[in-house]
Symmetry: C2
Subunit: 205 residues, 2 copies
DNA sequence: GATAGCCTTAAACGATCGTTTGACTCAGAC
DNA sequence: GTCTGAGTCAAACGATCGTTTAAGGCTATC
């Protein structure tokens, strides 16, 4: 079975991402999940130890990718004299939107948004540990380009940018992709709107 | 028992708001809930019919209040020649932040944010039905003050404002209230930041 | 005091959950 | 050929879930 398809472990991870996003962490049962993945019920506990560790693994797999893309994009422009605020925002925003369009789904960002909403302290700490240094690097670059802002003012504004981004990613909003617009085009439109909106919100006097 | 305290129905609603916010709709069981409320397990099904209808009722109670406050604030300023963009944003934002600080809780907005994240279509329709006319009125007023924006451009920007607001309300962000700042002061700071950020994001050329 | 209707109560119901168990398969090492 | 260990499988475990039931308490009405 592994020869023609993915490994059992990866089949579980893929199915988990879809079902967690669709029904939540509690809402998606291991029986649904393993049925969708075409594996035995006991396989989750065998390969991951528990459902909670599976959840963690789903996150880690995607967040590592997002982290690396963001940092790579930032490294290309950080510190350069000709770098604009919009460039930094693009490095922050585009990888996130791309990730939500990558492979198995627009769905992962709903998983993430849901995790935020769950407001679980364990998960919060996990995200902070894996994201802390990324946010610090972006904050430093924003600070360089917005020297007229106090530290606290800058934190506030970055936080609101994050809110707008999270909202846009998770597809909560009124704005839905219309059927005559491809997913790629919609993503680029979203990025463009987010970048302009955020640049204005960040840099206003 | 009802004479010295609230009615059973209201005790359930109050406890539900707290526990739904803390543990989610699935995560909070009726047994926890009724124990916290000091009522019998069967009381929920007797008074509300089912757990789902209880969830709905928790929402309705708060959203009706939010709706009415927003519309009242908007009515005071809509159409006036001296009304500014910041005024409309204040009418949109402040009632939401006040609600998240009202009575039994900072918690309701976490409930709401969680509901967004649950992404349930039933709940989405419910919110759209109860919120549709409010959003339309605000959109009309925004359109009046921002005549240079196309309809679609305006929709996008309002959506991003909503995202920033939701994010700020639900306490996800990095920005946490410090212990030496009162809750009221923190709320006013949040409102001020949100209004200025959103005004810049909405009105930029 | 009897009756009726609202409400509360303890107990049970069936379903479903995450997890564990023990047997089975099967490829590679010796 | 035998043994080993990783992986898969059906079945069961105990716990917990939302909901229902049947009995009883309480108040108001007559």
């Amino acid at each position: 079975m592994q020869t023609s398809q993915q490994s059992t472990k990866e089949r579980i991870l893929s199915a988990a991402e879809v079902l967690f996003a669709r029904h939540g962490f509690d809402g998606a049962s291991l029986r649904q999940l393993t049925a969708a993945a075409g594996v035995n019920l006991a396989a989750v506990n065998y390969h991951f130890g528990s459902k909670d560790r599976l959840v963690e693994e789903v996150f880690r797999r995607r967040l590592d990718e997002l982290n690396s893309r963001r940092l790579k994009a930032l490294a290309r422009i950080a510190g350069h004299p000709e770098t604009t605020l919009e460039d930094v925002l693009a490095a922050f925003i585009k990888p996130a939107l791309e990730l939500s369009h990558d492979g198995s789904g627009t769905l992962f960002m709903r998983v993430l948004a849901r995790a935020f909403a769950e407001h679980d302290d364990t998960l919060r700490r996990f995200l902070s540990e894996n994201y802390g240094h990324v946010m610090r690097q972006f904050t430093a670059e924003f600070a360089r380009l917005l020297p007229h802002l106090s530290k606290e003012e800058l934190y506030w504004r970055i936080d609101l940018v994050t809110g707008a981004l999270t909202h846009a990613m998770s597809g909560f909003g009124m704005i839905q992709r219309k059927s005559d617009v491809t997913e790629t085009m919609h993503r680029e439109q979203t990025a463009a709107h987010l970048i302009r909106f955020s640049a204005a919100g960040l840099s206003h006097p």
